[in-house]
């Protein structure tokens, strides 16, 4: 999936920015089709420029729809991130300090689940939450709660796996000291989570990045309903489908800005990269 995104991005970049490039030649080399067969290069450039200016005006005028969609995106993603972190981080610490029979298999499965296809997660959550499903009685399908559930399932393995890598190293350093202090398992987990907090922040931010950019699963379980479950990514998908590339790009720029802002804010608040800190 990441590979496809990369090549797709490369084609668009070269098409828009390299003078006198031949898109047909590029796409034939890559073995794919022109994504916008009817659009000329100046039109694509104009879409990009128009997207930038629209994004600027949407922000300056604090467009009501944009604010609503952005806030919903943030609310859904941050809630999912909090829940996922509360599950994944202690689990990663537990995996670091505790030796049990299925530990290696658990870690291998966790790593494998990092690549969980979001669409499949969305489908499974859909089945569970649909009227005829086991949790249909709660009426959660096509609500932000359903979107949060899907995002939690997608990002828990990612956060847990990255966190485990860091905590395993920290446990290697702390092992003898904490054993010699006669600590309980709970105290060891506490020490790892507290002292490894800055490394864990990276894991959480990776989860945030994955969740805020997620579209497949939340489109299925959220339904992209206006004023109810529409978020930035599903709105981008919708506008692209309608051919409103400029608006889609504007929303895309805002999504990127939002993700970067939240990352910077969290780094700033947690004093990472300060002297003598972790």
């Amino acid at each position: 999936m990441a590979n496809l995104s990369f090549w797709g991005g490369l084609v668009v970049f070269v098409y828009c920015y390299v003078p006198s490039c031949d898109l047909e030649a590029i796409t034939s080399v890559l073995g794919c089709r022109d994504p916008w067969p009817m659009r000329s290069k100046p039109e694509a450039m104009s879409d990009l420029w128009s997207g930038l200016t629209q994004a600027f005006w949407l922000l300056v005028t604090l467009d009501a729809d944009l604010v609503e969609i952005s806030l919903r995106s943030l609310r859904v993603t941050l809630t999912a991130l909090l829940i996922a972190s509360a599950i994944a981080l202690p689990f990663a610490a537990f995996l670091s300090v505790r030796r049990f029979r299925l530990r290696r298999i658990t870690i291998a499965v966790l790593n494998a689940l990092m690549g969980l296809p979001p669409v499949v997660v969305g489908l499974v959550v859909y089945v569970f939450l649909s009227r005829s499903g086991p949790f249909g009685v709660f009426g959660l399908l096509f609500t932000p709660t359903a979107m949060i559930i899907a995002q939690v399932i997608i990002i828990v393995p990612l956060i847990a796996s990255i966190a485990h890598q860091s905590l395993r190293e920290l446990w290697g350093d702390y092992h003898d000291l904490l054993i010699s202090m006669n600590t309980t398992q709970f105290q060891r987990i506490q020490a790892l989570l507290w002292d490894g907090r800055r490394a864990l922040l990276t894991a959480a931010l990776a989860g945030f990045g994955r969740a805020i950019g997620e579209v497949g699963a939340i489109m299925i379980v959220g339904g992209n309903i206006d004023h109810a479950t529409r978020v930035l990514t599903t709105a981008i998908a919708l506008e692209t489908g309608k051919g409103e590339f400029a608006l889609a790009l504007a929303l895309g720029f805002i999504l990127i800005a939002l993700a970067v802002t939240v990352n910077l804010l969290i780094h700033r608040l947690s004093h990472t990269e300060s002297e003598g800190r972790w």
Partner: protein, 236 residues
């Protein structure tokens, strides 16, 4: 309740099929400073870790005069490469007290007191990993001594320290021993062993070759290997 004597009977530590220590029979009484000496790879560190309970035994037994859980709470260990927790100096020293439920304010007050006793009073707000080698070792000592352990194991605490830092560490150890803490310590430094030791354990190939009063050992070791080691010869 009395912790000593500590008795090891036919104790063996084995890793990946290789015997690191043992079989060992040893009885330690509750006073003084015991120095463990021997060449590199002789098993000094493993012996200390085994006595402390960090290294799991594969055979034999180790018994304290009090119940094992009680004994574990009353011990401390200082490692050759001191482990600095990713916290400030004062938080590092206070950590053992926080583990046993001492309030944060009280733990910090006592940690501040210990920091000053070991000469780290001016560094308490620094991150522990920013300390020099000698300061790290002092922090490790303060952190181990803050719970007033009955017995303190030290694995070459002055290795790679200069003369001044070594003297400062020895002063802290001498004070701790005078306050009633039983010290069991490994070292490569014969001068240090002579200054501190009440009794000496000479270890070679994972076995105890000699366990004698320090004055007797340094006057003339009983075994051929012990005498060679004292002369500074290579002992294999």
């Amino acid at each position: 309740m009395q912790m000593f004597p500590l008795e090891a009977k036919q104790a063996v530590v084995r890793r990946q099929g290789k015997v690191l220590v043992g079989p060992i029979d040893l009885t330690l009484q509750g006073q003084g400073v015991t120095i463990v000496i021997g060449p590199n790879g002789a098993g000094k560190t493993t012996l200390l870790k085994m006595l402390h309970g960090i290294a799991r035994m594969n055979a034999g037994s180790l018994t304290w005069a009090c119940p094992k859980d009680e004994a574990q709470k009353r011990q401390g260990f200082v490692f050759q490469a001191p482990v600095m927790m990713r916290r400030t100096v004062i938080e590092n020293i206070a950590y053992p007290l926080r583990l046993i439920g001492v309030t944060k304010a009280e733990a910090r007050r006592r940690a501040q007191d210990w920091a000053e006793r070991v000469g780290l009073g001016h560094t308490v707000k620094q991150q522990a990993t920013m300390l020099s080698g000698g300061e790290r070792q002092k922090l490790a000592l303060a952190r181990a001594l803050i719970r007033n352990p009955d017995v303190l194991f030290l694995d070459e605490p002055c290795a790679s320290l200069d003369g001044r830092a070594t003297r400062e560490i020895e002063e802290i150890l001498t004070t701790a021993a005078a306050d009633g803490t039983r010290l069991i310590m490994s070292t490569h430094n014969m001068g240090q062993a002579q200054r501190l030791a009440d009794e000496v354990i000479f270890v070679l190939h994972g076995r105890i070759h000699e366990f004698t009063p320090a004055s007797q050992f340094f006057a003339g070791a009983e075994t051929k290997q012990g005498r060679a080691f004292l002369r500074g010869d290579i002992v294999e």
